[in-house]
């Protein structure tokens, strides 16, 4: 009866692992795909303080109102009131048009228009500046043209001169600068990493304890050797099944990202598969290492959960390596394999770069060093444990 219960538990655990590996990446891709589905930050609330109260100042405000990026949420009656609105987070920006604004423009006195921007959130701040600049710089250019026409320069020449030269932005690979296209690489990395380590590390812990228990059991050395062999083969088969399941989950996630949320896959499928396989190989070595270090499955799973945020932050993706000290950049390249997947995956998918442009050697070297080290430590750990009396249970 107990044997049947334990077998049923093992089967359930196995199925739970398969489900986690194949379904969770797809689920989270849908979730975050919808979270990031709006391409632009729009309707940013701003306040206006119009001390001029002329048709011209009102037309400036109307221009702001007509912008999709901005929404006039309040009309302040003083600077102190505007600052309080900013402090409370009710608005993210504020335009102050001074007294005699229009008169000073007519007299070519170049009056100051002040635009306050809350930069506690850099994304909102940058968007706000971009929207406001677009509107107010256009206004300035128009006024320049008027001044030149008043100086008896013909309108076409005035317009061309006011423009002097223009600069045209071309954003390559992701022209809309959509957040999902930027974030998906790191999200996919973390989906794969977390689901894989949470599922596979406990397998090594359980097998380590079972192998240790075999040593503690009575029976001939021949039988024990035979049992050990059988368990190692089963372990390999189980890990390979989880490996393939994780690949399926990753490919499922990619399919959703591409077909539902427009994530481009400009590079070859083969390239992406290579990167995935290499990443999973490295993660398997880490799972062996975790299986060596931890005796308690719950603690191991908790540790893997704790790793999520530090590994994202230290992946060299959010903050580029050229901004770090060289020694620090070199250190994080040696610490964790995510750095060999996230950025290369992004480059392959968005830019369509080929094998020659990717630094696969780094990831391969990581695997070549970590695999033997992890296996050796795992074997040594089992040997050390077989010298101690066996203690039951891993939970």
């Amino acid at each position: 009866m107990n044997m049947n219960k334990s077998k049923a538990f093992a089967v359930l655990n196995f199925l739970k692992g398969i489900a986690i590996l194949t379904l969770l990446p797809v689920f989270f891709t849908f979730l975050f795909g919808f979270v990031f589905s709006k391409d632009y930050v729009e309707n940013i609330p701003v306040a206006v303080l119009d001390l001029d109260q002329t048709p011209f100042s009102r037309s400036v405000i109307d221009n702001l109102e007509d912008s999709e990026g901005l929404r006039i949420a309040a009309y302040a009656s003083s600077l102190a009131e505007m600052e309080e609105l900013l402090l409370q987070g009710k608005v993210y920006g504020g335009l102050v048009l001074p007294e005699n604004f229009y008169k000073d423009i007519q007299r070519s006195q170049s009056p100051s228009a002040l635009f306050l921007v809350d930069f506690s959130n850099i994304i909102i701040g940058n968007n706000l500046v971009a929207y406001a600049s677009g509107i107010l710089n256009t206004l300035n250019a128009g006024l320049s043209v008027s001044i030149m026409e008043a100086g008896e320069i013909i309108p076409y020449v005035a317009e061309q001169s006011a423009r002097a030269f223009t600069f045209v932005d071309r954003v390559l690979y992701d022209p809309r600068q959509a957040f999902f296209l930027y974030m998906y690489a790191i999200l996919l990395s973390i989906f794969i990493q977390q689901t894989y380590l949470i599922t596979v590390s406990p397998v090594f812990i359980e097998e380590k304890n079972r192998l240790r228990n075999i040593a503690g059991e009575s029976g001939s050395a021949q039988d024990k050797k035979q049992d050990k062999k059988i368990k190692v083969t089963k372990l390999g088969g189980l890990v390979l099944t989880y490996f393939i399941s994780s690949l399926i989950g990753a490919l499922g996630s990619l399919t959703v990202a591409h077909n539902v949320f427009g994530f481009p896959l400009r590079g070859g499928f083969g390239m992406i598969l290579c990167l995935l396989v290499l990443f999973l190989l490295n993660l398997t070595a880490i799972a062996i290492l975790l299986g060596t270090l931890f005796g308690d499955t719950a603690h191991c799973v908790q540790f893997v959960i704790f790793l999520a945020i530090p590994t994202i932050l230290l992946s060299g993706y959010i903050w580029p390596p050229f901004m770090m000290e060289p020694w620090f950049s070199s250190l994080i390249h040696k610490l964790w394999p995510m750095i060999y997947f996230t950025a290369p995956f992004q480059h392959v998918s968005l830019k369509g770069v080929g094998l020659e442009s990717l630094n696969l050697s780094g990831g391969l070297l990581f695997a070549l060093i970590l695999w033997p080290a992890a296996c050796l430590l795992y074997a040594l750990r089992i040997k050390w444990l077989t010298r101690k009396p066996s203690t039951h249970g891993t939970h």
């Binding site: 729009e42 170049s110 809350d118 600049s133 710089n137 045209v168 954003v171 719950a298």
Partner: protein, 383 residues
């Protein structure tokens, strides 16, 4: 007491409290190590030395002036001069440069004759952070250059004196004042929230782990939540202190407000963990479920990616995430210098969460007792 007897006593003590010690190491040292590591990584704070390339097809004094203006800004560092657009594209593709300037042939002559030529600015859009910083900086540099050109134009064509020419080049003197984080320091904006996200999962899992130990009564569990919440407060204070002392994160707001919010938040997350630990008997599964609910809140809470940019459903969903309130409140306390009254809108929802969690813990304990009593009664009857 000599060293031998000390170790002899320490050994069994450590063995007895192995789990607590292990958790203390992960709970306290883990976030500290991460804080130092990531703090050091983001130390520069502001994007600088972005490599860019130039394709100068004009090769005039004016084109060289443009390049010099860009080079002299802190934000950019010249990688090389490209011989063709395809070479520049290749450098962008390989990640050798993140921005490129293409100056067309005849630029100088076209500007002088009022033909309004176009300068092409190319950016690597796959690196959003870098592209965004590069675009903003490039725009500032070139607008300044343009204003200088227009001033010279007015002086020449319309015979204006310099002051008047400048006023006409810029009819409206637009001034931007960047508040709270004027240098747009990425570390000030991002680091605090991400480390709070790390700590919140640790608090929740601490709750899961400790919920099974000791008295499984309502009073016992609520006392545990309070004790762990105070421990959580200590942890939050330590690691925010590290950010302020070592990584120059400013703290301009009310200290009292920060302490109260941190305590309430720690209580909130620990209570969530205790609740889930009571509902789900398996430790591993309870930890996984906790992670499933808590980890995504670091994005869904709107700290880095703003709620404004999310669909309405997710904006409403954020209202039930404790991280949404605490993350924003702490950032505002640090950067904006809020006083206590400003933090009340953040405090109220957190208190409501705690009350709901406490009630749910009571409910779960009562239900478990009822079920247990029923099972015991049936077993007694069977005997």
């Amino acid at each position: 007491m000599n060293m031998n007897s000390l170790f002899a006593k320490l050994g069994p003590c450590c063995q007895k409290h192995k789990r607590t010690l292990l958790f203390a190491v992960i709970f306290l040292f883990g976030p500290l190590i991460t804080a130092f590591g990531v703090g050091y990584e983001l130390k520069a704070g502001v994007m600088k030395n972005i490599p860019f390339a130039v394709l100068d097809q004009d090769n005039s004094e004016f084109s060289r002036t443009i390049i010099t203006y860009v080079e002299e800004s802190d934000v950019f560092v010249l990688y090389d001069y490209a011989d063709s657009t395809s070479e520049m594209e290749q450098w962008l593709k390989e990640g050798l440069v993140f921005a490129g300037i293409v100056i067309p042939a005849g630029l100088s002559a076209d500007v002088a004759s009022g033909n309004a030529p176009q300068i092409l600015l190319a950016y690597d859009g796959s690196a959003m952070m870098v592209a965004s910083s590069a675009r903003t900086a490039m725009s500032e540099v070139l607008l300044t250059l343009k204003a200088a050109y227009l001033k010279n134009f007015y002086e020449g064509k319309l015979a204006m004196v310099p002051d008047q020419a400048l006023n006409n080049a810029l009819p409206i003197d637009l001034t931007y004042r960047f508040l709270y984080n004027p240098s747009k320091n990425f570390s000030n904006y991002f680091l605090l929230g991400m480390l709070i996200a790390l700590l919140q999962i640790e608090l929740a899992i601490l709750g899961v782990e400790r919920s099974r130990i000791g008295k499984q009564t309502i009073t016992g569990l609520l006392r545990k939540c309070l004790g762990l919440g105070i421990l959580g407060l200590f942890s939050l204070v330590v690691f925010i202190g590290v950010l302020c002392l070592w990584f120059d994160l400013p703290y301009r707001g009310s200290l009292g407000a920060g302490l109260v919010l941190s305590l309430v938040y720690a209580l909130c997350m620990v209570s969530l963990g205790v609740l889930l630990g009571q509902i789900i008997p398996d430790r591993v599964f309870a930890s996984q479920v906790t992670a499933f609910f808590v980890l995504p809140s670091s994005i869904l809470g709107g700290y880095s990616f703003p709620l404004l940019a999310m669909p309405d459903f997710f904006q409403n969903l954020a209202a039930i995430l404790p991280y949404r309130y605490y993350g924003e409140a702490m950032r505002n306390l640090c950067l904006k210098g809020l006083d206590f009254s400003h933090t009340l809108p953040y405090l109220k929802p957190l208190l409501i969460f705690i009350i709901i969690e406490a009630l749910l813990i009571c409910l779960v304990v009562c239900l478990k007792k009822l079920v247990s009593a029923k099972i015991n009664r049936k077993a007694g009857e069977a005997l």
